[in-house]
């Protein structure tokens, strides 16, 4: 049983990303979308939490681009995906949990 978690809030606004990362199991995936993509920027507290987490972490590329965040600013261990990847991640895991 694995879960895809989506996080759509900035970690500088809400605590959803940290809560999600601490709940997610090693088999889970976490996808940052919308304002959640601010969590993917390297050198922040969120980036440290991501590297310490067991789950695989992804970020939605179009939402990064919409906020002017280039891919060279992305923390290590975070993979950039498009909507095609989002749908594939949803299909590959047993359930999708949106952290709203």
């Amino acid at each position: 049983m694995s879960i895809l978690h989506t996080v759509n809030k900035s970690p500088f606004q809400k605590n959803d990303l940290a809560s999600c990362l601490s709940h997610a199991s090693d088999a889970d995936a976490v996808l940052m979308i919308e304002d959640g993509v601010y969590g993917a920027i390297k050198g922040t507290k969120a980036a440290a939490q991501i590297s310490a987490a067991g789950a695989t972490v992804f970020v939605l590329g179009v939402d990064l681009a919409a906020r002017g965040i280039s891919e060279d600013k992305i923390a290590d261990g975070v993979s950039v995906v498009g909507y095609d990847g989002f749908v594939k991640l949803a299909a590959e895991h047993n359930a999708v949990n949106s952290w709203l």
């Binding site: 989506t6 759509n8 979308i33 919308e34 304002d35 179009v62 939402d63 909507y83 095609d84 989002f86 749908v87 594939k88 949803a90 299909a91 359930a95 999708v96 949106s98 709203l100």
Partner: protein, 130 residues
């Protein structure tokens, strides 16, 4: 695979309606089935045909109606959330004694049971909101 999609936020608020639309479009493009899109809470505001955004902006409501037409999507607006926010179809307008209705093409008004059913029948239920 069967997907169900839930939209809990109105158009032009943050990004949930746009994200849900892009996700639904991509799921269909990959050959998945989207058995229902359920509009709940402020999400019901996606279903008014009176929306008139500026010409250079995306037309979220039209995008949904167009997608529904192309893929025969079942787009359900929660009745209790809709009545609170003034989203009515012809029957509801008549029943409530209102002089007009405003439900957009491709949307239908029904109850919360439709969300429960989508949760049971879909392999994955994906929620978008604020």
């Amino acid at each position: 695979m069967k997907f169900g999609v839930v939209v809990n936020e109105g158009p032009y608020t943050h990004q949930a309606s746009d994200s849900a639309y892009q996700f639904t479009k991509e799921a269909l493009a990959q050959g998945h089935e989207v058995i229902r899109v359920f509009f709940y809470h402020d999400g019901v505001n996606n279903g008014t045909r009176l929306t008139v955004p500026p010409g250079d902006d995306r037309h979220i409501q039209n995008n949904w109606s167009q997608l529904a037409k192309e893929h025969n999507l079942d787009m359900v607006v929660c009745i209790a959330a809709a009545q609170r926010r003034g989203i009515l179809d012809e029957n509801e307008a008549k029943r409530q004694g209102k002089d007009a209705d405003n439900i957009a093409d491709g949307f239908r008004i029904s109850g919360l049971g439709q969300l429960i059913e989508a949760g049971i029948q879909a392999d994955r239920l994906v929620t978008f909101g604020d």
